[in-house]
């Protein structure tokens, strides 16, 4: 009966949610596209129509290429790594062992911490002259001289990625724990009877069963990676020399630092387009997993 009611009055049933989507998603996005076509300098009363000039300006700006590459690299490395590590964490947290409750709470801790606080914590770890990591590596004899983790362009990229993954693992773990916990145990028992080992069971049972959730987690982490900037800025301020500058920062900077709202909006639209393209690419690569029927 409920199914028939839904199909009989589809718009009426969707209306409340549609209103929310229109107010909080469609209107702001539409307004951003509209704004991106005007030269809006916040302290100037003039707002001339400039067409696609804002898009050309941001794409040809000195920061765009570097920030875009940094952002894509950042998202491409952190998103899959986060999902892989989170899968391991989720599996661990589903295993019964002494103190599991405490470990579960501790693993969730990074999720609850504001990004800026996390950034400060990671600066204490990676600092080149008084960081914990250098102290440990030096004491264990792995290094003979301190490494400037945050002052070297490549190492700084690595450092902010590690910190970002650390903050993202809890949520991805929760998603994957949910997926892992509903796998039918009989499948594993049957596989064991057939002589399947750990690796075979993982690839033949676990992975196919959690593929849908893993794809959602991957897409989510990709969006987090593409829009990240607060943690990196707390750690490096985008430096050294732009090595950890991400596009998300420039959407903010163009709008609220340089007060050029038109350009900020144009950059936001470009970022949304890139994100959408990547999501579509992932959904194509994993066909059927996210469709309603599945």
């Amino acid at each position: 009966v409920a199914r028939r009611e839904l199909s009989r009055y589809p718009i009426e049933w969707l209306f409340p949610v549609l209103i929310l989507v229109i107010v909080f998603t469609v209107y702001p996005f539409g307004y951003a596209i509209w704004s991106s076509l005007f030269r809006i300098l916040l302290i100037s009363p003039k707002r001339p129509f400039v067409g696609f000039k804002n898009y050309l300006d941001v794409v040809s700006s000195i920061y765009f290429q570097e920030a875009l590459l940094n952002t894509l690299l950042f998202a491409a490395i952190t998103a899959p790594l986060t999902v892989v590590i989170a899968l391991g964490v989720a599996r661990l947290l589903l295993t019964r062992f002494f103190g599991r409750g405490v470990v579960r709470a501790v693993v969730l801790l990074p999720w609850a911490m504001p990004a800026v606080v996390s950034g400060i914590v990671w600066v204490w770890i990676f600092h080149g002259r008084w960081g914990v990591l250098n102290a440990v590596l030096l004491k264990t004899g792995i290094i003979s001289t301190y490494i400037e983790w945050l002052d070297h362009p490549v190492l700084a990229k690595f450092s902010v990625m590690v910190a970002h993954i650390w903050t993202q693992i809890p949520f991805a773990s929760v998603l994957l724990m949910a997926a892992l916990s509903i796998i039918n145990k009989e499948l594993y028992e049957a596989a064991e009877v057939d002589g399947a080992g750990v690796v075979r069971k993982f690839f033949s049972i676990t992975l196919p069963q959690i593929k849908g959730m893993a794809t959602i987690a991957l897409i989510y982490e990709l969006i987090m990676g593409l829009t990240a900037y607060d943690l990196t800025y707390a750690m490096t301020g985008g430096g050294p020399g732009g090595a950890t500058t991400l596009l998300g920062y420039y959407v903010w900077a163009e709008s609220f630092k340089m007060l050029q709202f038109g350009r900020g909006a144009a950059l936001g639209v470009i970022m949304a387009a890139i994100t959408l393209a990547l999501i579509l690419a992932i959904m194509r690569a994993v066909p059927g997993e996210l469709s309603v029927e599945n």
Binding site: Y63, G238, G241, A253, K257
Partner: protein
């Protein structure tokens, strides 16, 4: 019927009286620095002015500009705020802050008691917009004990700074120079400007044309010096905040730095390990000048529109930034913050407090040579664009020419947009 009407009128009257007698609440917005002292100052003000309540809101320094843009553009109630010299023209042009002179001509009496560079920083289109919270200079600071122990003298120019750093490096000190390096901080630009002034150069001329991209100019040379110090000679360590430079200097691993002058107070006071070993030197370069600036209490246009809030705001601003300079004196004595109020220069309490961490005569001599920066309406916005580029040049990610050319182009772009 008549009785009901009378009762209603009576209640209305009572309500009006209660509302009128209720204290006005001012929303006071600051960047985060020693909030406990600010709260204590507010408590004292409220005790002396029972008809005014003050609600304090603070934001981190490196997010302050953006947050205030959002607050002021979004018309979030704000009555009095900290403002900076580079943001005043921007906020005034946007109509977000109000000139004190327009409403309270008596503010002019403070002009003659204010250091010239600070007065210029608080003035826009000939009108005074604020009274100073603090005013300071950006100075060249060094460890006099290490310098002396290594047989080195106080450097007079940047070539000498380099030679001494190289000598110290040969002697085993990895990074003789430590630098506050964070492109998100407005002072990242200000410290650079101070060094350029020391050389006798300028980043812009009187007609607001950029000079920074002139390869023979002092700004160009100084950025090249900084890049060489980091990339070619590897004598410079970075810290991302002044609060980290202070303890870093106290490790004895560094000798030179350039910072807001008040940091010398923190550097030289126990329990810092090397307290007492630090001093200021005249900014290296033929001019020996430095950047002087003012941060100040400013009234918003929102407050100015309402006579009650406007008057309360003025009383608050005058109590904090004027009067007998009690608040400025407290900042100077307790935290070593510089001041715009000239009478405090010879205040015995200030002199006594400062004697424990700085040579007052050296400070006066450097302050005399201080210049305020060029601050047109687009300065703050341009600085946000230029600082990341400058940071890139520091580490060799871009050439000085690329950075200075881009900086000049952006400056001209803003200039055209706002002057057309």
């Amino acid at each position: 019927m008549k009785r009901s009407l009378l009762m209603a009128l009576g209640l209305l009257l009572l309500g009006t009286v209660v509302l009128c007698a209720a204290p006005v609440t001012l929303n006071f917005v600051v960047w985060s620095y020693n909030i406990a002292t600010i709260q204590d100052n507010i408590a004292k003000f409220e005790a002396a002015n029972p008809d005014i309540r003050v609600k304090l809101q603070d934001y981190p320094w490196n997010q302050y500009h953006d947050t205030m843009v959002l607050r002021l553009k979004g018309r979030t109630r704000t009555d009095v705020m900290y403002n900076g010299e580079d943001w005043l023209p921007e906020f005034a042009a946007a109509g977000w802050v109000a000139s004190l002179e327009d409403f309270f001509p008596e503010v002019k009496k403070y002009k003659e008691k204010t250091a010239p560079y600070a007065l210029a920083d608080m003035t826009y289109k000939g009108k005074l917009y604020g009274l100073s919270y603090y005013a300071d200079i950006i100075t060249f600071q060094y460890n006099k004990v290490i310098l002396k122990n290594n047989g080195l003298s106080v450097p007079k120019d940047w070539d000498q700074v380099l030679q001494e750093c190289l000598k110290l490096k040969q002697g085993g000190m990895k990074y003789p120079f430590v630098y506050e390096y964070d492109a998100t901080l407005p002072n990242f630009y200000s410290a650079f400007a101070s060094q350029v002034y020391g050389r006798g150069g300028s980043l812009f001329d009187a007609q607001l044309n950029p000079l920074l991209n002139d390869p023979d100019g002092e700004a160009f040379k100084q950025l090249q010096w900084l890049q060489d110090a980091k990339v070619k000679y590897d004598i410079m360590a970075f810290e991302n905040h002044e609060t980290k430079v202070v303890p870093a200097m106290n490790t004895g691993q560094h000798v030179f730095t350039v910072l807001y002058n008040y940091n010398l107070a923190a550097m030289n006071k126990p329990p810092q390990a090397l307290a007492g070993q630090f001093d200021i030197a005249t900014m290296p370069g033929k001019a020996g000048a430095c950047l002087g600036f003012a941060k100040f209490y400013c009234m918003t246009s929102q407050a100015a529109k309402d006579p009650v809030r406007r008057n309360a705001a003025w009383r608050f601003i005058e109590a904090f930034g004027g009067g007998d300079y009690k608040v400025a004196k407290r900042w100077a004595v307790e935290d070593g913050l510089g001041f715009a109020a000239l009478p405090l220069m010879d205040d015995p309490d200030v002199k006594k407090a400062w004697a424990s961490w700085i040579d007052m005569e050296k400070f006066k001599a450097q302050a005399k040579l201080a210049r305020n920066d060029v601050n047109p309406e687009w300065k703050g916005m341009w600085s946000e664009f230029f600082r990341p580029l400058m940071a890139k040049a520091f580490v060799g990610g871009a050439t000085v020419k690329e950075v200075m050319d881009q900086g000049a182009a952006k400056w001209n772009e803003y200039k055209e947009l706002l002057e057309e």
